[in-house]
């Protein structure tokens, strides 16, 4: 069968592209134990620089590659110098959040500069195909293979024979020992970020040429694929990343051959989850390693939370409750309804990310599960809407916890990757499982909210309903935090090794946190479905996950009141200042970065 050879070639070529991203991730992880979530954004920048060079400056191909590599490297150096170096001595969560924030800022800057519409990126190569065995291969395939192999050789020579390369290897083997031997860690970081960015940028440009199309959605996909390849190969393992990438390319290509294009990503993420579960240190990991003891510092920024007296909270709640009795505009009520819905999601995320330290990047998937469940229960089974929303919460609690459970044994950055991947899997399943979810068409005609047979149509009644639900969830969560579970969750976050040594089962308590948090998020999604009356697989997306994360950091990790204050602030302030929608994500990203740098404990303090 000739097509199998084609699929193999395609898999290897795509794998080569992934390798350029994954090798950069592996280098960075090796020296700084950091998964650089901004790697995909640099890939995106590379693609657009390539477009500028080819389409506007008409540079010849070799010059295009050099321009892209150099510009991307500069972006990488800036990122390292101003985004990460200031965080060197801060808590472990800080650099993780910083790369997430940087990624959003870069993506938005590209989107604002070039518009979100896809563009064509011509390859500058003749459009011919050579026969090879039973398949065909084009000049672009050869170029990608050539760039891949050349980069691998250059990198090998650099790491093996240059002084700086030796320092990089020393630092990734034992950072402290390397520092004692006089290795300048800042220079090593610079080198690694520069190289990673150059490779990532070139990779983005090549992919743009390969598909003759670039758009801003490439960024997240590239980060995910690169991370999958890197984790499969073993985090920090450079040759492993190359092999992991080729493997990923082949798995995807054969998967597409058998099941069709819309399953491409599903295979990538399933591969990730399988590897994380079976071999969390990658396919080629050798030694079982106990993680080193934390010397000082914990996962989150220590702080003394601002104690707000109960009466003040009661007064605030009462003030918001009687607000609709005053002549306020529908616009204000609508904005606050959005804030209450986001508040429920933030309550969920502040428990999961803040209280028990599992920084979830796929939290919007819990909204989606709740929304689809509630919508389908009320539409297909005619369940009363009030009960359907609760059903959405329960389904989100159960399914969300089940899906995330393979990642319970993971720590820090890995949890974020796993949740990001699981979030993508949920939206891909929604897209592909047409018999239940109606696929890309989405679900329309979802009945409005109702309670005991009365429809809640007026903004005032919806406002009260969502406020009451949010306050009830907040009170329940507050009660949870003062129980033995609150301290157990926080102990696991602060030091999971010590927690286990005192009998706390990570599976049990992470499950309970996700069950509780999944319920709140599912209820939020369920209510949203009945408010919007139409949902599809893109209604609940990564942007909401990131918005919720920014809210949680702004309010203070684990802080219940903070989650609500943060929601009102991030939903309300852009309205007050009438900031155009396309700038909001950019602002959320910048807010996240500033918080991580200057007020990691948030407004009200971590708990």
């Amino acid at each position: 069968m000739s097509s199998w050879l084609d699929y193999t070639i395609n898999g290897l070529i795509v794998g080569n592209v992934y390798a350029l991203v994954a090798v950069g991730l592996a280098l960075i992880f090796g020296v700084s134990r950091l998964i650089n979530f901004a790697q995909g954004s640099i890939y995106l920048v590379g693609a657009y620089i390539g477009w500028v060079a080819v389409v506007q400056l008409h540079t010849p191909l070799p010059l295009t590659i050099i321009v892209v590599a150099a510009t991307a490297a500069v972006v990488g150096l800036i990122l390292e110098r101003f985004g990460l170096r200031p965080l060197q001595n801060s808590v472990r969560i800080a650099p993780l959040l910083a790369t997430i924030g940087i990624s959003f800022v870069l993506d938005q800057l590209v989107m604002l500069t070039f518009s979100p519409n896809p563009r064509a990126l011509p390859s500058q190569l003749p459009d011919i195909r050579f026969q090879l065995g039973g398949g065909t291969i084009g000049p672009l395939d050869l170029l990608i293979a050539g760039v891949g192999i050349t980069s691998a050789l250059l990198l090998f020579v650099f790491l093996r024979y240059s002084k700086l390369g030796w320092a990089v290897r020393a630092a990734s083997q034992d950072r402290d020992a390397a520092m004692q031997m006089g290795v300048d860690v800042n220079r090593v970081n610079q080198a690694v970020f520069g190289i990673a960015a150059a490779l990532g940028g070139v990779s983005g440009m090549l992919v743009g040429m390969y598909y003759n199309q670039i758009d801003t959605a490439m960024s997240l996909q590239a980060t995910l694929k690169g991370v999958v390849a890197e984790v499969v190969g073993g985090a920090g393992n450079v040759p492993g990343a190359v092999i992991g990438s080729l493997l990923l390319g082949l798995v995807e290509s054969y998967g597409v051959a058998v099941f069709g294009t819309s399953y491409r990503n599903l295979f990538a993420f399933l591969l990730l989850v399988v590897v994380l579960v079976l071999r969390p240190n990658g396919l080629f990991a050798s030694a079982r390693q106990a993680p080193p003891e934390p010397l000082t510092g914990t996962f989150i920024a220590p702080s003394r939370p601002v104690r707000i007296p109960r009466w003040a909270l009661a007064v605030a709640a009462a003030a918001f409750a009687i607000l609709p009795l005053f002549p306020v505009s529908f616009y204000v009520l609508q904005t606050l309804i959005n804030a209450w819905l986001l508040g429920m999601l933030a309550l969920s995320l502040t428990l999961v990310a803040g209280t028990i330290g599992q920084v979830s990047l796929g939290h919007a998937a819990l909204l989606a599960i709740g929304a689809y469940t509630s919508a389908l229960l009320s539409l297909a089974l005619s369940v009363p809407v009030g009960l359907a929303v609760i059903g959405g919460g329960l389904m989100s609690a159960a399914l969300g916890t089940l899906l995330i459970s393979p990642s319970f044994r993971l720590r820090g950055h890995y949890v974020s990757i796993a949740t990001l991947a699981i979030g993508e899997i949920v939206s891909l399943v929604i897209l592909n499982w047409e018999s239940v979810t109606r696929g890309p068409i989405g679900i329309s005609g979802i009945p409005p909210l109702s309670l005991f047979g009365y429809d809640l149509i007026s903004p005032t009644s919806i406002y009260w309903f969502s406020l009451v639900v949010m306050v009830a969830l907040a009170l329940l969560q507050g009660r949870l935090l003062t129980s033995h579970l609150g301290r157990s969750f926080r102990a696991i976050r602060d030091d999971d090794i010590a927690a286990r040594a005192y009998g706390l089962s990570l599976n049990r308590y992470k499950s309970l946190a996700f069950i509780f948090g999944g319920f709140a998020a599912g209820v939020s999604g369920g209510i949203a479905a009945h408010l919007y009356s139409y949902i599809n697989h893109e209604t609940f997306n990564t942007q909401q996950s990131i918005l919720a994360l920014t809210v949680v950091i702004l309010g203070g990790l684990g802080n219940v009141v903070g989650a609500i204050v943060g929601s009102v602030a991030l939903v309300g302030l852009p309205e007050v200042f009438r900031i155009a929608a396309e700038y909001r994500i950019l602002i959320y990203g910048v807010v996240l970065l500033l918080l991580v740098r200057f007020r990691p404990q948030g407004l009200l303090g971590t708990i």
């Binding site: 050798s286 030694a287 079982r288 106990a290 003891e293 934390p294 010397l295 510092g297 914990t298 989150i300 220590p302 003394r304 329940l476 009660r479 949870l480 129980s483 033995h484 579970l485 301290r487 157990s488 926080r490 102990a491 976050r493 602060d494 030091d495 090794i497 010590a498 927690a499 286990r500 040594a501 005192y502 009998g503 706390l504 089962s505 049990r508 499950s511 309970l512 069950i515 509780f516 971590t606 708990i607």
Partner: protein, 281 residues
Amino acid sequence: MGEQHNPMLSLRGLTRRFGGLTAVDAIDLDLARGELISIIGPNGAGKTTLFNLVTGLDRPDAGTVRFGSQDITGFSPERLAAEGIARTFQLGRVFGNLSVMDNVLIGAHTRLRAVKPAVPVIGPLLELGLALLRPSSVKAEEERLREEVKAILARFGERLLPRIDQPAYSLSYANRRRVEIARALALKPRLLLLDEPTAGMNPTETAEMQALVAELKTEGLTILLIEHKLEMVMRLSDRVIVMDEGKKIAEGPGEEVRGDPKVIEAYLGHGLSGATEESAA
């Protein structure tokens, strides 16, 4: 019952390799009920790794660990905590953002009964429900444990009690070590492992710690102690075990071991590590 003749803890051929390095090399050890054994040896000798193997944080490549009448080799740390093994960590692993009270309450986690019914499958959900509803049995249990914690903290004089509601990160280094020991005591351990409990403490603080460990020993607690301060080791230990490069190079009463030429050589061979380094700090 032949309990007296049955050692509380018994290691046979315990081995752990990291790549080419054998961090713990065929260690045998028997610890009787109520006995206190000290493990000494230069830095990197494998003492902490040995503790990790006994407490389930790491798994041996060869050898067995028996606790009481059970073979516990490869048990999870959670399980071993429930069996009554408590430890402290060399570099200190308090829960930084938890108050002193909460830190020590975590130590009592394995003793929670009312809020953590031993029901299979739905047990965790019951635990969540009970934590939220808090029937009187749960409240009473929590109250009783809080009183116990205060009693444990009182053993440290005025060091910890006045700071009971402060987050652990705000404590001095020595106080954090004390919180760790208090947390271990809250487990009501049958076996206590202390990894350099006086590291970084000044002489007064060291003397206090020594008195506390002596008191625990008189109360009948079985203790395995890693310690660099030889004077303390000599005073407290029933027996001393010396490790070097993963191997047990000497074993016996303190005075005997101290004069052993192999031991002196091990310390000298590794430069001025161990005891001298500590006293210089």
